[in-house]
């Protein structure tokens, strides 16, 4: 009897947490106005190739305002995005929940798997060391170091 009660309570907790999680996912994608984070600054363009063995170069040093093109030259599709998996919130302003909203173009997140030959481009306006990963293959990791 006691075991049954514990089992029921445990299942109830899991179901309630599942409902909260689902509600959170549904409510967090509300579109809001672009705050101008994607403003154009004088910049250089760098390319990170996504190969079958990962990002190349895996660490890239750039200046604030520079643009990085993540070019997929692998036969599989890849999804470059800010750490941490799966929320992508480490780069300021980024959040996977903003994919599909008007803010999509101002976040460090491809927001979809990029096919062979396609690319995802992002301008880094925040100084710091930003880890990123492939959302559909988390073993692929890299770092963009943004200096002044």
């Amino acid at each position: 009897m006691r075991g049954a009660v514990i089992t029921i309570v445990a299942i109830a907790i899991i179901v309630i947490l599942g409902i909260f999680y689902y509600s959170y996912q549904q409510n967090s994608g509300t579109p809001i106005a672009n705050n101008g984070a994607g403003q154009i600054l004088p910049s250089r363009t760098h390319t990170v190739e996504i190969t079958s063995s990962g990002f190349s170069p895996s660490t890239l040093e750039i200046k604030k305002g520079d643009i990085v093109v993540f070019l997929n030259i692998d036969s599989r599709s890849h999804w470059s995005a800010s750490a941490m998996h799966p929320t992508h919130r480490v780069y300021p302003g980024s959040d996977i929940n903003k994919c599909g909203t008007i803010q999509r173009n101002s976040i460090f997140d491809a927001c979809r798997a990029i096919n062979t030959g396609e690319n995802f481009t992002f301008q880094f306006n925040e100084v710091g060391s930003w880890n990123y990963h492939d959302h559909v293959n988390i073993n692929f990791q890299g770092t963009i170091v943004v200096g002044e």
Binding site: G3, I6, T7, A10, I11, I13, I14, V15, L17, G18, Y21, Y22, Q25, R76, A83, M84, H85, P86, I96, N131, H133, D134, H135, V136, N137, I138, N139, F140, Q141
Partner: protein, 118 residues
């Protein structure tokens, strides 16, 4: 001492069961966040959704088995194998899977504690 051992087993079972069943709910609601844990060479052979759903079924089995508390030793062994596989195949992403190392330790402890009852 026996009483403490039973309590330790209870909390290990509940904690591990929660983790395994949480993955099932979260991955069912948002599968794209979880397919990244599937090794690329397996995706080349099978559809990633099929692999994900098989994995979720396996997680459900382990989670429910841990809650039922029958032959828990074998559930703990399956939990160890599951967690070890995740850690090995995603070793480069230790920033993400480091908690699985802790869970593996808990599963190993549960296996040792239930060894005599198997």
């Amino acid at each position: 001492m026996k009483n403490y051992e039973d309590k330790a087993i209870l909390f290990l079972r509940l904690g591990l069961a929660f983790s395994f069943l949480y993955v099932v709910v979260a991955a069912y609601l948002n599968p794209e966040s979880w397919v990244g844990f599937i090794p690329a060479f397996i995706k080349d052979i099978f559809s990633e959704r099929i692999i994900l759903y098989w994995h979720l079924a396996f997680n459900s089995l382990i989670g429910i088995w841990l809650l039922i508390n029958r032959k828990t030793f074998y559930a703990a062994v399956l939990a160890c194998l599951n967690l070890a596989t995740i850690i090995i195949f995603n070793f480069n992403a230790m920033d993400i899977v480091f908690r699985d190392v802790g869970l593996l330790g808990a599963a190993v402890a549960l296996a040792f504690l239930t060894w005599k009852k198997r």
